[in-house]
Amino acid sequence: MAAPGATALVALLVVTAGITVAARLRARSTALDYYLAGQRVGIVTNACAICGDYLSAASFLGVAAAVYSSGLDGLWYAAGFAAGFVPVALFTAAPLRRFGQHSLPDFLASRFDSERVRAVAVVVVELVILAYLVPQAVGSGLTWSLLVGEGIGGLSPYATGVVVVSTGVAGLVIVGGMRGTTWNPALQFLLLLATLVWLTVVVVGAGFSYGGAVADLDEAPLTAPVVRADGSEELATVTHQLDEGAPARFGEAGARYDRLGQFSLVLALVLGTAGLPHVVNRFFTSPSGRAARRTTVWVVGLAGAFYALAVLLGTAARTIVPGAAVDHDWLAPLTVDGVLRVPEHAMLVLGRIYGGTGGLAVVATGALVAILSTIGGLLLAAASSWGQDIYARHVNPRATERQALRAGQAAVIVATTAAAAAALVLRPDDLADTVIAPSLVATMVTWAFCLAGSSLTPVLLLAIWWRGTTARGAVAGLVVGAVAAVALIGFGLASDEGINPRASLLLTPTIVAAPLAGVVTVVASRRGAPPADLDRIWRRMHGTAADRHAERLAELTLESTR
């Protein structure tokens, strides 16, 4: 497997690096261009770039894995990931762009005229970025293990994947900036979607019936591999969380979540998206507020198509792998009685069943594309927060633009190193029997959503839509939301009781932490005063003068070129 896998990987890196360098050569070297691509990214391009940033290993490998292992309950990851952009379209996209700053912390600091808000927001943003980066690095290791299967320099295949992908993307971000990381994720998303479409066509063409598969899977209890006391493995029936004593079934709710668990997960994903720094930063690159809103509508449509296909393929893997395990010897070490040990392998295995090693290379390349584009967006957000919000404003206020860029690029290296180190410590094999299995990658990404949705989103919504929000309230809301989310997730991990409803709720605590942060923001805001120039801020955020001006300039430019 090493030869085609390595070939696919080299081809991917060469194309990605080529696009990055080409985009970079066209760009001016200003901070505006490095971080925001000159604020001239078109609607469809930006929508594809947002999808490329957003659709990570959790979406490409994790959603299919969640569906594979938990059936209907796993579908809620996909629905929640897609749903998250509806609140963005409704509440944040246009006002954020109209206010027009470099980053989420920059927006909040300017909105409240407070450097304290900026500092607290940067800390929360960096935590979110780190929480999002770690599962991407884990996904890199998993994909490399299956794609290449060999380590380099004495490292295991998993560790090699983590190190090579993290290092490669960090280098591309440092060279390319936002312009390079706009064209890359946009093209990478199209490649990702094409991979899913190809696999779907192949699977359906081979006779897969979606409805028939779900009906067949419902006939037998859902099972999952477990390790016995003597170290051997066997299949065990998954317990029904809604009907005590009954076995869970693929097409019914209850394989993973109790009554509250489903709502908790959906709310965590819905609210989390609006606070993800690498997604928010993309809206600042739109030419106008209206374009940002229309971009989000495109994202909702494109993401919906992507997730619908990922869910179908997760279902297909559950149906097809048991039969294929009889005919394909290479599946033996990956399965226990026809069920995959690592659910994240579902999509990859499907590619190899239908396309041989070449098919595996195509799907694995898709997985790496998802990881590359997401890591790129996250690292750029990290660079923006440190370089512009902290270094250029507080550490070295007299810094030249070049020095600020260098500081941001140093942040890229630090964030990459921290995430890779965490991924090497949190090996998937060691976590197989913990509360975060199954669907390891999707669950870990959900923590980033929880942190963002519990802390940044409530404050962001109030900052945009309630004039009474003050700097004091924003700081209080950010801190309380973040602390509550981290503490509850920590309790969930420490419970060590395996998969259970309490753990599920604790591991997706937005349903508790977000309202708490909102209430604290409102109460604390009552004790402070809004910025003196609130009317000007409101005109800037909710008025359309700048949009009209930009549209007229665009029309004049078009007329002059005719």
Partner: protein
């Protein structure tokens, strides 16, 4: 009526030593200007639109797991081999999300077209917030 009121000029967009370049600020030329009253009225309308659509979005989304708990047919019925619950979670919700986002976006655009840019002169006479959090 277009106000002769002018805000201060927009902050500089160019970079200088010690300060990174600022992103593009809204520009107030004589033709591209919104009054506080206009913006305030538009903001309140947009907030009603956004909250209304969000309630619809949330109700439909949460109805899917809720029906699992209260309606047996939702989980056991069959539509082309799949339960209604599965059909909605696997595909139906994505259609709903897109329709809600599209409808809300179109209405928001229409509200801005109608209420900003000099369309409704009477809006200048509307009361507006004093910045004390009364909204």
């Amino acid at each position: 009526m277009r106000h002769s009121l002018r805000r201060g000029s927009a902050p500089p967009t160019g970079a200088s030593a010690g300060r990174p370049a600022e992103p593009t600020e809204p520009t107030d030329s004589a033709d591209d200007f919104d009054t506080t009253a206009e913006v305030d009225a538009t903001f309140r309308t947009q907030r009603r639109v956004a909250v209304g659509y969000f309630v619809v979005f949330l109700a439909v989304t949460l109805a899917v797991p809720t029906l699992t708990l209260v309606l047996g047919w939702w989980s056991t019925g069959r539509i082309a081999g799949m339960s209604p619950n599965f059909v909605m979670a696997a595909g139906g919700l994505y259609v709903v999300f897109f329709l809600v986002a599209q409808a809300a976006s179109s209405l928001a655009d229409a509200v801005e077209d109608r209420m900003l840019g000099g369309g409704d002169e009477h809006l200048d006479a509307l009361p507006h917030d004093d910045g004390t959090g009364s909204t």
